[in-house]
Amino acid sequence: MTESRTDNSEDPVEKLLRSARDEAVNDPFHVTGVMMQYYEVCERELWFASRHLEIDRDNTAVVRGTQVDESAYDDKRRNVSIDGTIAIDVLDDGRVMEVKPSSSLIKPAKLQLLYYLWYLDQVVGVEREGVLAHPTERKRETVALTDENTRWVEEAIRGIYDVTTSDSPPPAEEKPFCESCAYHDFCWSC
């Protein structure tokens, strides 16, 4: 990720925008919301996910996250898919909501939500506010696309491009979330 791109290659942010706006781009570059999360949590996890490595579906954290996502605020939100790339939950008042089972991974969830707001702004052309919600803790936080947040999202897009186009994953790194990661045993088996 420290290696800089060669001069003739395009900025990944531009590349993403072109492929999002124009279906005819060769070698399109897509970033999904969950890739944003992975990038913030663990670049190695992002690399595994980008190679479509299977996750351990029996992993308790995976099961729990899916359940919370499927059950929370069921009546007040609509799931909207945009360009087949991002899937967002829109509240009755038009704000974009991201639901997380716990607040321990707040930064990744926030980056994911900001990416949706950035995408809506840059690709679709609508400005929206975001709500980060933790149903199990009955907490909500409003999130807006400030200049600083925009830079954060765009740097993440560049980082995601570098990780996912690399031939090998970044080395394993012990993190507080490792034990609940669906790739844990795959990642640490040696």
Binding site: H52, L53, E54, D167, H184, D185, S189
Partner: protein, 330 residues
């Protein structure tokens, strides 16, 4: 979710509501707790229908069938939950690149010899004098090089295994005479135990491979087979000393299995039903045994070590990170 159930009697397996029952020939009905099952091992003559197969597919449970002479006859696997074109492409690429293929094959041999040596060392520490055998195994391990093709590697393995098998006659009690490996069919009690133990290891490796997106037919040490899951052969070799041979020594030396647990005829020697039950029970207990895994940072069962091994190989194929074979570390 990792119990194996072995069926030794003849009869009929059927779906009954949301579980599986076995109806034996005398009409007795037994229910199998399918929610905890990883696989069913069928050793007897069993009838079943498509309804049973669909149900086992839904609950993700495999059937492994053992036929004549206790040989593995095939599996009915649940529809693949895991598929990954990229994984298969990388697996085939590694097979097709002779440098990479040799390196992986060599690791399998290195691990196998290490695990054979661990068994020899165990008995060497308990009053036997196996120094010469240990030396021979070490010499074979040291002779390995990256330049060897798979035939040469197989030769090293065969020499090591021959030395390794020479301890069996010393470790096992009188009456259990081995005299070297024979199969097709096994010619004595020890050979029949090795055959049976090895096929149980093999079937469990088949299940472990199927839990990932690796293709069980694309192998590195053995030639990719048309009929056999040759990748399972590659991986099973690493685990035979731990999962099959140690159990053979244990059940025989503790008199849990005796000569009347076998039946011999002109066609060789096989475990009888009671013998198979005893051995399978000891085998399953061994699969459930756990060991501290230093990298995973928790206790894992011997059975899970098979899954970890497949993960390691897959990780090597996809990332290029080094594949280090299973070497008993405790």
């Amino acid at each position: 979710m990792n119990d194996n159930y072995h069926v030794f009697t003849d009869g009929r397996l059927e779906r009954h509501n949301d579980t599986i029952r076995l109806v034996t020939e005398d009409g007795e009905k037994k229910y199998l707790p399918i929610e905890n099952a990883e696989a069913l091992f069928l050793h007897g003559q069993i009838d079943y229908n498509t309804r049973l197969v669909s149900f086992l597919n839904d609950v993700g449970v495999a059937i492994h069938v053992f036929g004549w002479n206790d040989y593995y006859a095939g599996s009915i696997m649940p529809e693949r939950g895991q598929t990954s074109g990229q994984t298969l492409v990388e697996q085939v690429r590694a097979y097709d690149d002779s440098t990479r293929r040799r390196a992986i094959a060599r690791q399998f041999i290195e691990g196998s010899i290490h695990n054979m040596r661990a068994n020899v060392k165990y008995y060497d520490d308990r009053g036997y004098d196996f120094d010469a055998i240990i030396d021979r195994l070490e010499a074979q391990a040291e002779s390995l090089s990256d330049e060897m093709d798979t035939n040469e590697l197989m030769g090293v393995e065969a020499t090591a295994r021959k030395a390794y098998y020479s301890i069996f006659d010393d470790v096992l009690p009188d009456g259990f005479d081995f005299g070297g490996r024979q199969y097709n069919p096994p010619d004595n009690e020890v050979n029949s135990l090795i055959s049976f133990g090895n096929s149980l290891v093999y079937a469990n490796v088949v299940s472990a491979i199927r839990a990932t997106a690796l293709d069980p037919a694309v192998s590195f040490l053995h030639e990719p087979g048309e009929r056999r899951y040759s990748l399972a052969l590659d991986i099973a070799d690493l685990f035979k000393p731990l999962l099959a041979d140690r159990i053979i020594f244990r059940v025989v030396n503790r008199n849990q299995l005796q000569l009347d647990d076998f039946e011999s005829d002109l066609n060789g020697c096989l475990l009888n039903e009671n013998g198979r039950k005893t051995f399978s029970k000891a085998f399953e207990e061994s699969l459930e045994q756990t060991v501290d895994h230093p990298r995973l940072n928790r206790k894992v069962s011997y059975q899970y070590l098979l899954r970890v091994e497949v993960y390691k190989l897959k990780k090597h194929l996809l990332t290029g990170e080094e594949y280090v074979p299973f070497k008993r570390w405790w």
